[in-house]
């Protein structure tokens, strides 16, 4: 009976087009999550074909399967422990030699392997001719060609996957890497030693274990201890003896010699398989780099790209923002009409719809920003950015690769901090995580747009840009400080591939953009919803407050007074009196609403804390707003909406809020100090949670909260008081 469900693992070098193949296979039926226990992203997709149910797992992109980085360990463990039916090794055909290094390691694992020569068109263009039949014969595995970004070869790949999964293949294979006489002897002896000690205890192929023990692989050593009790110690001792012997013989670490032999094996294959038929034609990618990483033009162009990204995000995003704003307003009015008046309607309209709506409105910004970042990544420009910025990042003691998560921090710190997993050194990771919240995320943008829009008019763009710049400067200074005090140590090596530029696939860009925006949306769905309800509760209760004036009777008095005059008046005068009356009443209602908020729980909390915020130019309303911003920074806006725009019309809320802000005792200087404070202080709840998870300690999460809040206060203090001294108030 045929097997109906097949698990496939995709393995390959970074930049080998692995995720394109994955997208081609699974389309949008993808599930993005984490590998158990670690924080490396796990992508899984499903498809049905020819009566088979295929589960495709995208392994992290790696150059090797040693145990140096989390990605490598994750990829290897999946193949070893989950035993997928077929492992598909994606190989960049235009870069065959180096890609074969991982491929030979995949083969050594003794699972069913298919090799996919991807980007066959690039290889052809570069005048490289690959003899697939020869490769198939030499490696003894199925080999097929694909062009991922034109979706060519996908159906053949599927066919091969199914036939391979169903085929009986003798494992281990006879053709394998030959490590030279002396190492082979050690491998055989060690294998024999292991076999004698254990009959069936080990789940892996013994030759592979022997090879890994000779390479001093820490994970395999742990596994051996675990599975071959009580002989584990003896096996490891034997392996160490052999390593000692080989080290003496070669005057070199055995794993280095073995790496050499693998490349030797590959060189043999290359000689038979690859032919360069024509002299390389014009290398477009290299020519692009003559400009983009040019000594003089490289950095200005980079700055321009970043600037353009923000311009695009904010000016293009303004149109859909208006539509969403209108939609949310309409929803609020509709709900107000349908629901019976009372506490429940108040919760829905003013708590949930207003709170979530004020965040949903920034979805267009976030989609565009993530689209731009996906564009940088998929074209290959991201690696150039790291290349250009490494020297600068190195000043902080960071790797150029840290630049990528830092840049992503402008979108959202949560996925950005998750992206620090590409860093190999633990200290680099922690440092990057700690300074990442200084990169002003998209959620803080609403606050800037509101404050800068209200106080800086046509110069709002410049004010916002300077806040972003302030964040970068602070990240550099704080990074340097931490590197020289808390996190002293070596910087990880900067061995980074600069892949050829590629025309990205639109579908791929959309998938990447959507994957990340989903995280933002989930925040709205969960944290923000809860936060909005809490804030609504704090501002709606206590329900009955003791007002300083008797508004009810004053309003009644006005009505009585005017109604008498209106009854007596005639013609135009009636209209004039009616509008006068309504104005007087609504003025009182605004005062009443404001006093109600002032006397609510949240108002009292803000008043208690206001002495702390007074030196940085914020009144009690500002302090309440930033307090609520801990849930998520965008909430600062909705809180200010409640605290300032009371009595405003629903559908022009944001403009009304700006007017209200200008009428309050805020000045451009105090608004700017508040923008700086919002930039720096406590990362939002979700970020704190992800910091805890990624550093695996509460210590760093608490440290992050503490240092950022103190720093925020100090910077805002300097801006506000310093500005007053030089007469900016």
């Amino acid at each position: 009976m045929p097997k109906k469900s097949i698990t496939i693992a995709l393995a390959g070098n970074p930049n080998s087009g692995k995720s394109t193949i994955f997208n081609n296979l699974t389309g949008t039926r993808q599930k993005v999550g984490n590998w158990p226990g670690v924080t490396v992203e796990k992508k899984e997709g499903h498809l049905k074909t020819n009566g088979y149910d295929l589960a495709v797992v995208d392994l992290p992109g790696t150059y090797s399967l040693t145990a140096y980085s989390i990605e490598e360990i994750v990829a290897r463990n999946f193949i070893l422990d989950e035993k997928p039916d077929v492992v598909v090794g994606i190989i960049d055909a235009s870069n065959l030699e180096r890609n074969l290094y991982l491929a030979t390691q995949l083969r050594e694992l003794d699972t069913k392997v298919i090799f996919v020569l991807n980007m066959a068109d690039c290889a052809r263009e570069r005048g490289i001719k690959i003899d697939a039949d020869k490769l198939r014969e030499l490696l003894d595995v199925p080999v097929i060609f694909t062009v991922g970004n034109r979706n060519q070869g996908t159906s053949e790949l599927l066919k091969t996957i199914i036939s391979t999964a169903e085929a009986e293949i003798d494992l281990p294979r006879t053709r394998r890497v030959y490590y030279g006489k002396d190492i082979e002897k050690a491998i055989n002896e060690l294998s024999e030693f292991i076999r004698e000690k254990t009959s069936a205890g080990l789940p892996y192929h013994i030759r592979w274990i022997a090879i890994k023990l000779l390479e001093n692989d820490k994970i395999v050593k742990e596994r051996v201890l675990e599975y071959t009790n009580p002989y584990g110690e003896a096996i490891l001792q034997e392996a160490e003896l052999k390593r000692e012997h080989l080290r003496e013989f070669f005057d070199e670490e055995p794993e280095i010699v073995m790496t050499d032999h693998r490349y030797g094996f590959i060189a043999g294959i290359m000689k038979e398989v690859e032919k360069t038929v024509s002299k390389q034609r014009v290398d477009v990618s290299r020519q692009i780099d003559q400009v983009l990483t040019n000594r003089l033009l490289g950095l200005p162009i980079f700055v321009f790209f970043i600037w353009a990204m923000f311009q695009l995000t904010f000016s293009l995003g303004a149109y859909p923002m208006d539509w969403i704003d209108a939609g949310v307003g309409w929803l609020g009015v509709g709900a107000d009409r349908i629901l019976p008046e009372g506490l429940f309607a108040d919760l829905i309209v003013n708590g949930i719809i207003a709170g979530v709506g004020s965040v949903a409105i920034f979805l267009p910004n976030i989609l565009i920003l993530f689209f731009c970042i996906a564009l940088f990544e998929d074209t290959g420009y991201m690696a150039r950015a790291a290349f250009l910025m490494d020297k600068v990042m190195h000043l902080i003691g960071l790797h150029g690769k840290s630049f990528i998560p830092m840049l992503m921090g402008f979108g959202c710190n949560v996925p950005a901090i998750m992206a620090t997993r590409t860093l190999e050194s633990e200290k680099d990771r922690i440092l990057t995580i700690l300074i990442n919240p200084m990169m002003s995320c998209a959620a803080r943008l609403p606050v800037y747009i509101l404050l800068a829009g209200a106080f800086f008019g046509a110069k709002a763009g410049n004010a916002i840009f300077s806040i972003y710049a302030l964040g970068i400067v602070l990240a550099i200074s704080v990074g340097r400080l931490f590197r020289s005090t808390l996190l002293r140590g070596k910087v990880a090596p900067f061995v980074m591939e600069l892949p050829p530029y590629r025309v990205p696939m639109f579908k791929g860009l959309l998938i990447h953009m959507w994957d990340r925006s989903k995280i933002f949306l989930k925040k709205i769905g969960g944290v923000i919803l809860i936060g909005s309800v809490i804030i609504w509760f704090l501002s709606a209760f206590p329900k009955h407050v003791q007002f300083s004036r008797n508004y009810e009777s004053e309003i009644a008095n006005i009505s009585v007074h005017y109604d008498a005059s209106i009854a007596a008046a005639q013609g135009d005068l009636v209209e004039k009196l009616v509008s006068e009356r309504d104005e007087a009443i609504s003025a009182l209602e605004v005062l009443r609403a404001r006093e109600k908020v002032e006397r609510s729980y949240i108002g009292r909390l803000g008043k208690v804390l206001s002495p702390v915020f007074a030196p940085i130019g914020m009144d009690w309303r500002g302090s309440v707003a930033v307090l609520t911003g801990f849930v998520a920074k965008e909430i600062v806006v909705s809180t200010m909406g409640v605290l300032y725009a009371v009595g405003a019309e629903e559908d022009e809320k944001s403009d009304a809020l700006k007017v209200a802000l200008r009428k309050s005792n805020m000045t451009p200087l105090s608004a700017y100090a508040m923008m700086a404070f919002v930039l720096i202080y406590v990362p939002c709840l979700a970020t704190v949670a992800v910091i805890r998870r990624e550093t695996n300690s509460w210590k760093w999460a608490v440290f992050s909260i503490t240092y950022s809040t103190i720093l925020a206060w100090l910077v805002a203090f300097l801006i506000y008081q310093g500005g007053k001294v030089v007469g900016l108030a």
Binding site: S64, I256, T293, R295, F387, L388, K391, P493, E497
Partner: protein
């Protein structure tokens, strides 16, 4: 001679890769093997890192890392 002493447009052959264990291993895995030709494509605008071409692909290294790779047979190939 160290790899970091090369000028843009020069090619040299790897003689020895120094440095500590994981770093060396990573370089070897990326193809920095004895006898491999390396072409210096360019220096970054801030003079660090350096872009190299070997085995048909582009890779960047920091200057202090390139200094740990000894090369021989330096030649101009532009």
């Amino acid at each position: 001679m160290d790899l970091s002493e090369l000028k843009e447009g020069q090619t040299a052959t790897v003689a020895r890769v120094g440095g500590d264990g994981p770093f060396r291993r990573r370089l070897l895995e990326m193809g920095f093997l004895r006898g491999t030709d390396i072409y210096v494509e360019k220096y970054a605008p801030l003079r660090d890192p350096i872009e190299l071409i070997l085995k048909g692909y582009h890779v960047s290294l920091r200057m202090d890392e390139a200094a740990r790779i000894q090369v021989e047979n330096v030649r101009d190939s532009r």
